[in-house]
Symmetry: C2
Subunit: 420 residues, 2 copies
Amino acid sequence: MTLYVQKFGGTSVGTPERIENVADIVKATREKGIDVVVVVSAMSGETNRLIDLAGQIQARPNKRELDVLLSTGEQVTIALLAMALEKRGCPARSYTGWQVPMRTDSAFGKARIEDIDDTRMRADLRAGRVVVVAGFQGVDENGNITTLGRGGSDTSAVALGAALKVDECQIYTDVDGVYTTDPRVVPRARRLERITFEEMLEMASLGSKILQIRAVEFAGKYNVPLRVKSTFDVDNPGTLISYEEQEMEHALISGIAFNRDEAQLTVAGVPDQPGIAYRILGAVADANIEVDMIVQNVAVESGKADFTFTVHRNDYESTLELVRKVGEELGARSVEGNDRIVKLSLVGVGMRSHAGIASRMFEALSGEGINILMISTSEIKISVVIEEKYLELGVRALHTEFGLDAPDESAAAMAESSAD
Amino acid sequence: MTLYVQKFGGTSVGTPERIENVADIVKATREKGIDVVVVVSAMSGETNRLIDLAGQIQARPNKRELDVLLSTGEQVTIALLAMALEKRGCPARSYTGWQVPMRTDSAFGKARIEDIDDTRMRADLRAGRVVVVAGFQGVDENGNITTLGRGGSDTSAVALGAALKVDECQIYTDVDGVYTTDPRVVPRARRLERITFEEMLEMASLGSKILQIRAVEFAGKYNVPLRVKSTFDVDNPGTLISYEEQEMEHALISGIAFNRDEAQLTVAGVPDQPGIAYRILGAVADANIEVDMIVQNVAVESGKADFTFTVHRNDYESTLELVRKVGEELGARSVEGNDRIVKLSLVGVGMRSHAGIASRMFEALSGEGINILMISTSEIKISVVIEEKYLELGVRALHTEFGLDAPDESAAAMAESSAD
């Protein structure tokens, strides 16, 4: 028998009325002869309400107790959803994390799932019941309640999908799938029918709004096919995230991701010696600043190197100050920075087997008069840094260049409205 | 080492600020060298909020799922209280019903406690921690969450007190103890220092506002001394409810209870034959109407009996209709009723060994021109039914007659304000 995990986030279960809607979706799935394990988040706003309560008691709440508190959010939702299913004549039973049990380590607030016992769930499924599981939570070996951290319900869903070897793990959310790029920037952006786990990870800057990166990694590791679907447009098939299959027809490029939150720093004219990169980045890492892209090139004549990297825009000022000091110590020619830049990435497993993607990309950008400030490549991604003001122009140019535009405006308009 | 259970109801933990106040009380107890297991209810209003949510989904919510839902209320409180204790440098650990575990049967919504495992709690107490337990909830043998029903937190506290053989089970509430009678009726009502379990049960109509009857029975059965105290006036010793002790000095009468919700029915002139009482009361019981007092007397001359009983005032009309029919079948002379009556009870273990209490009572009432409509006695209680309009007059007369009045007006005024 076909078995799905269906996961519904906070917005999808935000009111009793929406919980009824979710029950309708689950019931419709059951009526197709598909067994269902549902995973739900806390009703939207509930987790923040609880965090606020804790904050009124203790500025930095005790971590064990915060998990006891927060786990009530999902517990409320599972009970209400099970009631809504029972009301529909659809037998259901709810389970908290400890009832499953979903065993985790003891890292309160960011626990990792270690083991899932599927005995009770299997028995319920055999008895024709829908199993409703609280996402985001588990229990450690000492019987303490744990939570998985923000977005942990996605991880719960994927872990259950792996443990139960489901045919599909469906993530219902408020968008109807993964798009070739952000429809707010490119009105003709298209919803992707399929995308690989690797591409989804590289599309992080778009995808993270839809799915927790950790959940995608987990799904890839255990080969759990993920489908992103809209709670409010259930007939839409959404986007399937899975492994590349032999017979899979692949577009050269799956999508274009971009990130507005970047800032770039360059230390120019430093001696090309071992340890230089460490001297510069070590200081940054020590200050707990995360570095994204890193590029180094050497001017052969002078034997001097230029070292460029990007950080989150919020860290720009403090990084610049740090790096100026290090640059001085290293006798750098100059230290420069720019916080009005963006990163723009072409993503596609198709580019593995096709040369010339990079040059087509650079040509398309230069055709629009866009200067490239930095380049970095991986096996299935090419990222460039450009000036912020060119972001929309650049994304649209590449979207058209690589044949991603939707066939007509009406379809695109539809896509846009449902993705907002 | 001395060990207390301290139980705090919904009003006592109604806001983060009040939870801080509870933490202060617990900490102060710890500082006296007393070990503490705290039992808490849901924050006031929370249980109703959850019931309302369930009601929006399902008119008669699935009982298993309702328990999953409602048990989150106390879970929120235990986490917040443990945080507040930790903040005060008072190590604490919270436990839900299943974490204790507190084993119950599977009667969702009205489960009975079967067994309490004290292993974890003992280990925490040995380690110098305060144990904070969620009241009102447990877990059945299949790992399902159960709740004990309204007021179940009192029962949880007493059951923990019995399992841990505590020196005292303190019930903190918004009144400062048990009174000789309702201070709103008798301004000179006094707080009782001590009262026996039996008296407390007989005082039900007053006491039930303070303590669940079921919890008092339980405490009596397992001999757990109960102390009712005010959360908002901790220096007040409250009232100790325990077994009568040899050396205990006993007032003749402990208090005067009354009940405004009664209605009286009389079937007059029925044949004095076996089965008559059953014919009348059987019909009432079949209609699921609860009967309180029952009195029957026989007029020797005529061989006819008069049969009188009381029911809740809400059931008066339907009972009257029923009994009129039965009366006709039995050939009764008349069927009469009165729903403007009240029951008034004198309670005290002291009356066991003292004759003449009843006659003093009747005399005091007749001295005020109050006619007695019905009399019923038990070993430690004498109840009379009188017309409703005489309630206050009657209670005050008896309160004075049996020496229950507070010595002066100022003390009484204080008592009144704190009991409101």
